[in-house]
């Protein structure tokens, strides 16, 4: 299924409607990235409400414009991984600790339950995924590129 043979529309309820080449219709399909961290734009699956895969998109770039826009907007409304740009302050160096952070989605605070909630991503750059106490995953794209203050605070937890 390299070239998409399906159609996508958005219905008035705001759901994605998938129509296969054979004319089979599925409502409320959900696009899911197979490698959200490693290769976000490769391997996107359209999944039905029952959790069955309807279509596999090897490369998002190969999908024609309108469909791609729909998939991208649906992904954007489902994906929520704020990127931490700066650590303003932390309440304590032991856990649980409340952090005041500035993210690409505005300033907020997060509660770090334990050091095990910080996951180092493999790779040359020091990327981190930090899961907050409320289940939101924050991302630090490059630890070495952060400012001195943030780096010093973060170092204490690594």
């Amino acid at each position: 299924m390299s070239a998409p043979t399906f159609q996508l529309q958005r219905d008035p309820l705001g759901r994605l409607v998938y129509t296969s080449a054979e004319g089979e219709r599925h409502e409320a399909v959900v696009p899911v990235r197979a490698f959200p961290i490693g290769a976000p734009d490769e391997g996107i699956s359209l999944v039905s409400t029952e959790g069955r895969e309807l279509a596999w998109i090897a490369r998002l770039g190969s999908v024609p414009g309108p469909e791609r826009a729909l998939i991208e907007s649906e992904l954007a409304s489902r994906e929520f991984v704020p990127e931490i740009l700066r650590l303003v302050s932390v309440s304590t160096f032991s856990s649980p600790s409340t952090w005041q952070v500035e993210t690409d989605r505005g300033p907020t605070q997060l509660v770090l339950k334990g050091e095990e909630d910080i996951r180092r991503l493999p790779g040359t750059r020091a990327s981190l995924l930090i899961t907050s106490g409320h289940g939101i995953v924050f991302r630090v794209r490059d630890l070495t590129a952060m400012d001195r203050h943030s780096k010093r605070l973060l170092e204490r937890f690594l």
């Binding site: 954007a76 489902r78 929520f80 856990s95 989605r105 505005g106 907020t108 509660v111 690594l158």
Partner: protein, 766 residues
């Protein structure tokens, strides 16, 4: 906000929601994300007439009149919650929030539903239901949206004040503690005598001798015996004090440990589901130990040091205030310097701990998985992973050692400088004739031993923090209230017939509705087979019947009495539970069989084992019924373990029997053996059996098909097959799978041969 036609929308200006005259606020919700998922703060207000909303960043309120066909739906994904307001044909509006606002949002939806229901009936909306915390399921306080327990566990860093709560466990020992304190006082006093005796020794004996006077042997003897006596006294008192306080602190820790474990056992399964086993074990095991060490060692030493400091300063000031002032002046400064260095080291040590964790992680990964490593010939990769981890360990250690090796010499240097100040000022005072040489040596002796203690005193900050963290983790357990509460005045169960009635029960796990509106009546002695896809709520239903959780709505009744009115232990005595993974405790086979009835006679145990078809293989074990099983004991196969657990359930002779996938973890041959054992077990009891393999349920009187938390079909096998509904689809799917696996899998044979045959079935299921 993505909305197509907000029909009755009126845009109003900022501030609080501008309600219509005579309208009342029912609920409000602070949303913290906007449509593009950026942080911001917006507000939703539900009143009797309308739903008001103010998107994040905006100051204008929008009014959506409440129409009967409006529906408010809640769902969440990856940490983001969504409320969608829609009509059957279109979505009217959508709001997003982080899960921090989730409980509030669920309440908001509930209020909305209540309002809609009330409007439908034409009455005023009634009061709010008590909502439960989604993570620990403890009831929430009526006027708050935060679960006090979870919030505390999540948000509060351990405060040192937590340690004061240990007093509750220390109170029974207050007498001993008081004696311990007095002993400490006396022992410290005794250690302060020797330096004091150096004054006369210097001024009245040695210096006069240097100036040509004779030594008075009897006076010297007196002083020396004073030195010996005080040393002996300090020794004896110190021993008594350390012994007594160690005794008390061990007892406090043991009480704490026992208290925490007993409380833990009383908590409902929810709590255990949410916590990791290792974490709970650490809390009760090593944390209490850490507190004990803190109390008996660090806190005691610190108290002694503080007492010593106070008494020393008292003595010094009484001898010579000026010199005392100069002597004590460097103290805070030195303490601060030591603390500073120590703080540096602490972060370094924490880092070493974590890196060390990486090193052991490689071992913990590789050694249990050695078969995989060897099979895929990846020894080289694992070796290099270990080498890398060690390299990092070395790097971190090297960096720290630079500071660490400085620490000891730095403390000595600081101490020496402090002494230098005392020497300098003292010599100056001696030259002025304000003090004698004896006084100066006494001061040096006093303060020299004191500077040495500063290092250990500076450590108190970090050990106190650690002990406080441990105490907090234990009190987190102790403060948790079980959400399967014991009734205030329990009804005795008496003789049980075994009829179970479920009346429109509902159960929500967190924010997920697992069971909704379920009705089922089970007659005494009937065997019910629960069938359905995984996730359809079968196991949850069984957990509700066992009262591992309490239903959110409706009620479960045993012989017509709500099970919440029985004492929990009394009720569970009538339930026999056989699980998919039989759990055997460490102990003999006989002890394991008699687990539910510790007073059972040997005959009863053997009879139960016979009925469970376990007797013969038990006799084949080298020590028969006295063989050790459990974690380190005799290796038993899955089927053998299962039959022991069936014997365990048989022995307590329950009226209500629950088989949760009792045979799905074993092979076909064993299944037949177990099935025979189960057939004995089932006779004359109300039985609820869950099984993936429909073959296991061939004896069931009725099959109950569940889907998404609801009962979709009830009936005999033939009936359900004829109906061609959900059960038929399940059955067909299994048969198809059996066909494709034909010849290669035992399942195929099994399903073909043991699936309920029409004739056989009608025979057993009268």
């Amino acid at each position: 906000m993505s909305q197509t036609h907000p029909t009755p929308a009126a845009v109003l200006s900022a501030g609080a929601a501008p309600l219509d005259a005579g309208d009342n606020v029912l609920a409000s919700l602070a949303v913290d994300l906007d449509e593009s998922l950026s942080f911001g703060s917006g507000q939703l207000v539900l009143s009797e007439q309308a739903l008001w909303s103010r998107p994040p960043g905006a100051t204008d309120w929008q009014r959506l009149a409440i129409a009967p066909d409006l529906e408010l739906r809640h769902h969440d994904h990856a940490g983001v919650g969504t409320l969608e307001l829609s009509r059957p044909t279109e979505r009217v509006a959508r709001w997003r929030f982080t899960l921090a606002a989730n409980v509030q949002a669920l309440r908001f939806v509930k209020r909305f539903e209540q309002l809609q229901a009330a409007r439908e009936r034409g009455v005023a909306p009634e009061g709010d239901d008590p909502t439960r915390c989604p993570s620990c399921r403890a009831p929430l306080p009526p006027d708050s949206d935060e679960c006090p327990l979870c919030t505390r566990e999540l948000n509060t860093p351990p405060s040192t004040w937590v340690l004061l709560r240990l007093w509750r466990f220390a109170r029974p020992y207050q007498g001993q503690l008081l004696i311990g304190f007095l002993l400490t006082l006396a022992a410290t006093g005794a250690t302060l005598v020797p330096p004091y005796l150096t004054i006369p020794l210097m001024d009245k004996v040695l210096i006069p001798f240097q100036n040509g006077q004779q030594i008075d042997p009897s006076y010297v003897l007196l002083l020396l015996s004073g030195l010996l006596g005080s040393a002996l006294l300090a020794w004896g008192l110190g021993w008594a004090r350390t012994w007594l306080l160690a005794l008390v602190s061990e007892r406090i820790a043991a009480d704490l440990r026992i208290g925490a474990f007993e409380h833990l056992l009383g908590l409902s399964l929810d709590y255990f589901g949410a916590k990791r086993t290792g974490d709970l074990m650490a809390r009760i095991g090593s944390e209490t130990d850490r507190i004990s060490v803190f109390l008996s060692l660090h806190a005691l030493d610190f108290a002694t040091d503080v007492l010593m400091l106070a008494m020393t300063s008292l003595i010094l000031f009484s001898i010579n205030p000026w010199l005392a002032l100069v002597t004590l002046l460097p103290l805070p400064f030195i303490a601060w310097m030591i603390h500073l260095v120590r703080d540096r080291l602490r972060t370094g040590f924490e880092k070493i701990d974590r890196v060390w964790g990486d090193v052991t992680n490689v071992l913990a990964d590789t050694i249990p998985g050695i078969r995989v490593v060897k099979a895929f010939a990846q020894e080289g990769r694992e070796a290099s992973r270990f080498r890398d981890a060690n390299k990092q360990n070395l790097a971190v250690n090297d960096r720290l050692n630079k500071t660490w090796s400085l620490f000891g010499p730095t403390v000595s240097l600081l101490t020496d400088i402090g002494l230098l100040v005392v020497w300098g000022f003292g010599i100056w005072q001696v030259s002025k004739g304000e003090i004698t040489v004896g006084v100066l040596t006494a001061f040096i002796a006093y303060i020299g031993r004191f500077y040495g203690r500063l290092d250990s005193m500076s450590r108190i900050v970090s050990v106190t923090q650690k002990a406080a963290a441990g105490a907090k983790r234990i009190f987190d357990i102790l403060d948790h209230v079980s959400n399967v509460p014991e009734p205030a005045s329990p009804v005795p169960t008496g003789p049980v017939k075994g009829g179970v009635t479920m009346e429109s029960i509902g159960f929500r796990y967190g924010n997920r509705s697992v069971i909704r509106g379920l009705n089922l009546e089970i007659r005494p002695g009937e065997m019910i087979g629960l069938v359905g896809h995984s996730g359809s709520g079968k196991s949850t239903l069984v957990n509700l019947i066992c009262r591992f959780y309490d239903v959110t709505d409706g009620s479960i009744k045993l012989d017509g009495v709500d099970i919440r009115r029985f004492a929990v232990a009394d009720y569970r005595r009538h339930i026999g539970l056989v699980l998919q993974e039989p759990f055997l405790f460490f102990g003999t086979v006989a002890e394991n069989i008699a687990y539910g009835k510790p007073g059972a006679t040997r005959d009863e145990v053997v009879a139960a084992a016979r009925a469970a078809h376990a007797h013969e293989f038990i006799l084949r074990l080298p020590q028969g019924y006295d063989s050790l099983v459990g974690e380190r004991g005799q290796g038993l196969s899955g089927g053998e373990r299962q039959r022991i657990s069936i014997a365990r359930a048989l022995l307590i002779d329950p009226r209500l029997l629950i088989l949760d996938e009792a045979t799905s973890a074993v092979d076909t041959e064993t299944e037949k053996e177990i099935q025979k054992a189960l057939d004995n077990l089932v006779q004359g009891r109300t039985t609820i059996a869950i099984a993936h393999r429909l073959s296991t349920l061939r004896k069931a009187d009725r099959l109950v098909v569940m889907d998404r938390g609801e009962v979709v079909e009830v009936g005999h096998h033939d009936e359900l097959m004829a109906r061609q509904g959900a059960y038929w689809r399940l059955y067909e799917a299994q048969a198809r799978r059996a066909e494709t696996e034909e010849g290669s899998d035992h399942d195929a044979v099994l399903i073909a041969s043991t699936l309920p045959q029409p004739s056989a079935h009608t025979m057993v299921a009268k």
